[in-house]
């Protein structure tokens, strides 16, 4: 049954098809985006409307030859000159350097492998080689996995619509805690070799590799293990499997080089992509059984709650640029005449840290989960050894420990810890307030300092929460309860409307300390 009634406008792509189809969207002959018509569309007028993804909308201002192909077919179901927005020129989906962009399966803008020269992928091939060698040095036999394995086995090439490379390994351990510890150790070893890494879960992390044009490419390392006759591989696999189907590893050719792969690639790809793995499908998404997702999430996940939204925010480069110190840090400066040091948890661009250093000249530490967010301030303070900016994940206790140790060494009392719009920028299931209270207890114990928390308590109609990318309003009672559970004494609570306009959002400031034993006198709020 054919795809009919195709119409393209500023809303999106309208089409009708009795069966589910994958459609590739090309602008001037280059694939930009793929979608499933039924899965990704909204039913409308007997057909489906697939709205333009937000990540693409910014480019849709001008003309293009838009063709729509059912995936795997050479014959377009639609091929017309279209005009979107009010622009006069050709639509160009490129980054600032002019590199062609496309959307990946999660509709993120990526530089895809399609159209990239061998020279461009050589550093990634080098990195795969080097990382597999590095894994070997610590007794881990790494192999190509997921889309990278699929590309190698199918045609010896990186898949054109893919944007990163995936490696896997199967641990000798079978207890999840041991698998996590091993993954920590591997990441540490790779860091020592000079790689930049970021952790995704207890058993997966990403290595960032610089390509010849200066762009960064991700290389994901997924930990796996055998347990109860099943292969478990982060992120989505749990299937009956034999160790002999993986070891001894075989080899496959990728971009002209030999790399290790599981012994039985057919079985391996079948549990990853289903028995039809030989047929290309760029819009493929894992359909993970609920029991598998629960197992892997229970054992390994929970450290990246709301992270995607922040990845996107800082990916733009222009987010939260400009502006001065916050009202909160000005208020803290007034409240704290005897400040000894300052810690800003979730410091973003780092302006409050810079302001406090400028005003008071105290040692300071800016913490944010995005290393790129504070880069400018980090560079400006590079010569000042008492001012540090660290990447920090509130949801990982090892990060707490590192910060607590550094604080003990380098940040004298009276220590002020600020957390402005941190708890309300992480969804409740990440339990950010409980984690922040634990961190506060570690940094301000025994009366050595105070914690200042600012949250959005009323979600107004003024656009304030959206501008700050907040995910929820937080009940101040929830904050106080978490603080008290962590042994804190709440000293102050203050509601602060962000403006005098009707419908204004309201923030709440809560100040707490951890008095030394015997001096606790209860709240003064």
């Amino acid at each position: 049954m054919p795809v009919t009634d195709v119409r393209v406008d500023d809303e999106g792509i309208h089409a009708r098809s009795g069966r589910e189809v994958i459609l590739d969207v090309c602008f001037d002959g280059r694939r930009i985006w793929s979608f499933w018509l039924h899965r990704d569309g909204a039913a409308l007028d007997g057909g489906h409307l697939v709205a333009w993804p937000d990540s693409l909308r910014a480019f849709l201002d001008g003309a293009t030859r838009l063709s729509l192909n059912e995936h795997g077919s050479e014959t377009p179901v639609y091929d017309e000159e279209v005009r979107l927005g009010a622009g006069e020129g050709r639509i160009s989906v490129t980054d600032k350097q002019g590199n062609p962009l496309a959307l990946d399966k999660d509709n993120r803008r990526v530089k895809t492998f399609a159209g990239r020269s061998a020279e461009h992928v050589a550093p990634l091939m080098d990195a795969i080689d080097e990382v597999i060698t590095a894994l070997g040095k610590v007794g881990i036999e790494g192999f190509l996995a997921y889309g990278t394995l699929l590309g190698a086995v199918r045609g010896g090439r990186l898949i054109g619509h893919d944007s990163d490379a995936d490696l896997g390994y199967v641990s000798r351990h079978s207890e999840p805690a041991d698998v996590v510890l091993e993954s920590f150790r591997i990441q540490r070893d790779l860091t020592a070799l000079g790689y930049r890494t970021t952790r995704y879960s207890g058993s997966a992390f990403k290595i960032l590799v610089e390509e010849s044009d200066g762009s960064l490419r991700g290389l994901d390392v997924f930990g796996g293990f055998m347990r109860d006759g099943h292969l478990h591989l982060m992120g989505e696999i749990r299937a009956p499997f034999e160790r002999d189907w993986i070891f001894p590893l075989g080899t496959a050719t990728l971009e002209g080089r030999e790399f290790p792969v599981p012994a039985d690639t057919d079985r391996f790809l079948s549990i990853t992509y289903g028995p039809s793995w030989r047929v290309p499908d760029p819009a493929y998404k894992f359909e993970t059984p609920r029991s598998t997702a629960r197992r892997l999430s229970g054992w390994f996940r929970g450290i990246r709650t709301s992270r995607k939204e922040w990845d996107r925010a800082y990916a733009s480069g222009s987010f939260d640029r400009g502006g001065g110190p916050s009202d909160l840090v000005r208020w803290i400066a007034e409240q704290e005449p005897d400040l000894g040091s300052f810690v800003d948890v979730g410091c973003g661009r780092g302006r409050d840290v810079a302001a406090m250093v400028a005003w008071r000249g105290v040692p300071a530490l800016g913490l944010d989960v995005h290393g790129r967010s504070f880069r400018r301030q980090e560079t400006q303070h590079a010569a000042n050894d008492s001012v540090r900016f660290w990447t920090f994940n509130l949801l990982e206790r090892r990060h707490h420990a590192a910060v607590a140790a550094y604080t003990g060494l380098a940040l004298p009392a009276h220590r002020v810890v600020a957390a402005r719009h941190l708890v309300d920028s992480i969804a409740a299931d990440g339990e950010p307030m409980a984690r922040l209270a634990e961190l506060g207890a570690a940094l301000a114990q025994g009366g050595s300092g105070r914690l200042y928390v600012e949250i959005l308590s009323t979600w107004g109609s003024d656009g304030y929460p959206e501008r700050h990318r907040l995910v929820r309003a937080v009940d101040p009672v929830e904050v106080e309860r978490a603080l008290q559970t962590a042994g804190a004494r709440v000293l102050q609570r203050q509601l602060v409307p962000v403006s005098a306009e009707p419908g204004a959002s309201v923030t709440c400031r809560i100040v707490a300390d951890w008095p030394s034993a015997g001096s606790s006198t209860g709240g003064e709020a």
């Binding site: 197992r295 590192a402 550094y406």
Partner: protein, 73 residues
């Protein structure tokens, strides 16, 4: 006999809603147990990699150790 009937009989005649509630509770409890794995690994890692070496180093080495531990996170 249907599965539903068998389940109901096995549960001593408990209602469907009751069983759903108990399954949800059990699932939550299983997840709690699973969650401990990551926590145990985190704590083990920082004890072996940070606390034990901290206890035996001088100030300069301690600072290097803390920086190094943070870099590897």
């Amino acid at each position: 006999m249907s599965i539903k009937d068998r389940l109901s009989r096995a549960a001593g005649g408990a209602s469907h809603a009751d069983l759903e509630r108990r399954v949800a509770e059990l699932e939550a409890e299983v997840q709690e147990c699973r969650n401990v794995n990551l926590r145990v690994a985190e704590l083990t890692d920082l004890v072996t990699q940070l606390l034990v070496p901290l206890a035996s180093g001088d100030q300069k080495k301690v600072r290097e150790l803390v920086d190094g531990y943070h870099a590897g996170l």
